[in-house]
Amino acid sequence: MTGLDYVVKRVFFAVATVLVAITLNFILFRAAPGDAVSALRCRQCTAQFKEYERKQLGLDKSKWEQYWLYLQDLAHGNLGSSLRTEKPVTTELWAPIENTLPMIALGTFFSIVLGIVAGVISAWRRGTAVDKAGLWTSLGFYSMPPQWLGLIAVLFVAGALGLPTSGIKDPTLGILSNPSTWTVIVDRLKHMVLPALTIGLVLYGEYALIVRSAMLETLGEDYILTARAKGLSNWSTVWRHGLRNALLPVITLVALSLGLIIGGFITIEYVFSYPGIGLAVVEAIDQRDYPVLQGAFLLLTLSVIFFNLVADLLYFKLDPRVTE
């Protein structure tokens, strides 16, 4: 199999998966007992209103017609309207996405830094108590329910560091004075730190293990021996010569993890009342706002498929042997 074949195959698989995900998304929400409207909980939802909404959503048509309409809507980037606010789902989800992305980026950054430091130390002191303790610690964090770890962070860390524990910005900010951009940024960062740290702690174990095994391989190479023979310090050998080459596998793992974080951050955002996509999902569940839930689920699924493809292609770029 040539390289091009591999790329085409992966892209084709991703496209097929997207189709499966779209269809699954349709079937799930139609197969549920009752329909989107009957489960709706709101004050103004009279029987008449519900009948009207059903017509609006096309729920009175046959399943095949509905499926066709659904596909057409998707092709136009139309995810329907929220039953609660009547605004388009895409508008409803835009702000949460904007809030989530920087927080996840910070969380990923934390996990990479923690993972590299822990991995390099483990590799350098391989087989010792330090190595084992480090690996068991990361495995321990990995086994904790993320929402619980978030609560623990609020309980024991927030107070000590004076960090806010909920929301995305200080509600009093900007009421009395016009804050500078810098103050606003610092405020945003402060609100992001705890949820991001939770993500970082849950995930760093994976990176630590990858870095550790890659480092062990690299530290056995001849050029490391040469570096030592030249009289370079331990620090220089490990960080400048060893780590640089051991980092390759981490890059693909990052792409993959971005997709995987999604599972965990729904509950993490809920714990910290962080108004991101996870919190939007929780609110949509709470209010039985099916179009928003459906849109969010589709979005999450598509991003996972996308990052999986990116990981596959990156992996191929870095190590063309995968096609064999």
């Binding site: 007992p33 990995y142 619980w148």
Partner: protein
């Protein structure tokens, strides 16, 4: 001289040792790590089975003031409803472990069946089933579970079925790979040549060889399932009439245990989940390594970190 005497009798293939023989010989029982994990797991299982019976009264009964700190009468204090945390924790063990074991069993059945059929028949069956598995592997499992739980109601049975129906993919891949190697072994080929039907081949010859790996994988799945239950329950989608560890974490959050600085209401349930998940991982991994030495990759390997999947397309 008859033709039968001319044909040299084929060497009688030695029947592969039974599961228990292999378990006795395998490093699992000598591996300290697996023993520790198994011991912890057993302790929790016994607590889950006999604990609720031994409780003097209903665990959620109000026995003292709200968020009372630990005392001699209530070693873990009370929760936001004034109920004894220790009793709740014991009661929660039975529900959490029930969900864990039952959902893992559902996964094992679905995954085992898909893997066996795909691996044994090969060809188009294999391609079709593995495509299906691949698609399910990519769709993010936690959001899928949350959506399905939100749509299909909040009973314990539903939660078990949902978790079980979503976590079978890794099992299917593992079992398929194992089945493929077993299918080609000499004694299976010989049985086929002697006229054994597919059903007999699968049930008598392939299944016994695949079962140990399936069991090891199921132990790992228990960890996934207990973990997933805490997610679903935390979002208010758990069974409202049942107390699980996930529910206790949710309660602590909803009742503002943090504002009351009631660490005793928050720490124990999550710690219990962590310990059980670690115990399952230790046991399952050691068993898998013992059954399938080729998978073994060192003392602590990446495969240990498999609550979320890595790498793509790995078994």
């Amino acid at each position: 001289m008859t033709t039968a005497e001319l044909v040299e009798a084929p060497p009688v293939p030695v029947a592969p040792p039974s599961f228990f023989t292999r378990l006795r010989r395998s490093p699992v029982l000598s591996s300290r790590q697996a023993l520790v994990g198994l011991g912890i797991l057993l302790l929790f299982v016994l607590t889950g089975i006999f604990g609720p019976i031994a409780l003097p009264h209903d665990a959620s009964l109000k026995v003292g003031p709200v968020f009372q700190s630990p005392s001699l009468a209530h070693p873990l204090g009370t929760d936001g409803g004034g109920a004894d945390m220790l009793y709740l924790l014991i009661d929660g063990a039975s529900v959490s472990l029930l969900v864990g074991f039952a959902a893992a069993a559902v996964s094992a059945v679905i995954g085992g069946l898909v893997g066996l059929l795909a691996g044994f028949f090969g060809g188009r069956t294999d391609i079709a089933l593995m495509r299906l598995t691949d698609y399910f592997l990519v769709i993010p499992d936690i959001p899928l579970m949350i959506v399905v739980a939100a749509l299909f109601g909040r009973s314990l049975t539903n939660i078990i079925l949902i978790i079980g129906a979503i976590y079978w993919t890794s099992t299917a891949r593992l079992i398929r790979a194992q089945t493929k190697t077993v299918r080609e072994r000499v004694y299976v080929r010989r049985a086929r040549a002697l006229g054994a039907g597919n059903t007999r081949l699968i049930v008598r010859h392939v299944l016994p060889q695949v079962t140990p790996l399936l069991i090891a994988n199921t132990v790992l799945l228990i960890a996934y399932a207990i973990f997933a239950e805490t997610f679903i329950t935390f979002l208010g989608l758990g069974d409202p009439s049942k107390i699980s560890w996930g529910r206790l974490i949710e309660n602590a959050f909803q009742d503002d245990a943090i504002l009351n600085n009631a660490w005793w209401a928050i720490v124990p349930p999550g710690l219990a989940v962590t310990v059980v998940v670690l115990a399952c991982t230790m046991t399952g991994q050691a068993m898998e390594d013992a059954m399938n030495p080729r998978l073994r990759a060192g003392h602590l390997s990446v495969r240990r970190f498999r609550l979320r999947r890595w790498p793509p397309g790995s078994p």
